[in-house]
């Protein structure tokens, strides 16, 4: 990168620091939403794990059986398992 290009890139980089607050807030919400989605997945799999443990099988086995039953929601995952039928 030439000195001139570097100088312009730095100015551009600094200018980005003054973009509209709404864009910064928007990115923040996206970040938070991703973390909430991750927490929901953790909660979902925790419930499945608890259900699996209650009948003495692993989460992996429970999910495998549910996949065979072609189910996706947590309720149908659990209900699809013979032990819970």
């Amino acid at each position: 990168m030439s000195i001139e290009t570097n100088s312009k890139a730095i100015k551009l980089f600094k200018s980005i620091g003054n973009i509209n607050d709404s864009y910064i807030d928007e990115a923040e919400v996206a970040d938070v939403a991703a973390k909430i989605a991750k927490r929901k997945r953790v909660v979902k799999y925790s419930a499945i794990g608890a259900a699996a443990a209650s009948v003495g099988i692993t989460t992996a086995v429970l999910l495998l059986r549910s996949r065979r039953a072609r189910t996706r929601t947590i309720t149908t995952v659990i209900e699809s398992i013979p032990e819970f039928a």
Binding site: M1, I10, K11, S15, I16, I19, D25, A27, E28, A34
Partner: protein, 185 residues
Amino acid sequence: MEDQIILDMYFAREESAIIETKQKYGQRLLNTSMNILNSYEDAEECVNDTLLKAWDAIPPTRPTSFGAYLAKISRNLSINKWESGNTIKRGGGTIPLLLSELEDCIPASGGLEEEWEMSFLTETINEFLSTVNQTARVAFTLRYFHGESIQSISKQFKISESKTKSILFRVRKKLKIHLEKEGII
């Protein structure tokens, strides 16, 4: 705690406002500063300086978006610290990589060169960002405002790293065209 309540504490000159601010925004500010400086000590110093600046400015300032207000202060302080040279010596931060990417946005020079006036640049960037879709805009903000890594952005969007790179590449190209149209060369 709601931002308006925290801001009321600043106006009442209650020092617990600083504690509440750090609790709510400290980690986010630290992450951005760390992305830029790659030094925990320097990043923490920037966060503390941000809180001090906020305390000095509020009141009379009452930001409409407190989070964005703090993020901008912290980012500017981090860049200043990077420019001071100490962080470069320690080989820190993602700024060199981000600058090399932003080089894609710099229109080819030719003829009479306009001075890159900062406020006009910002206005142009804001105008540009209003024209792109939300995913591209958020990716651009996360990468070039917050200095987030490609890996981090990919995880947040639940897409591959190559897809993220592709999104950012297209946005940079579009920004270059936009800057050329605005006569910034």
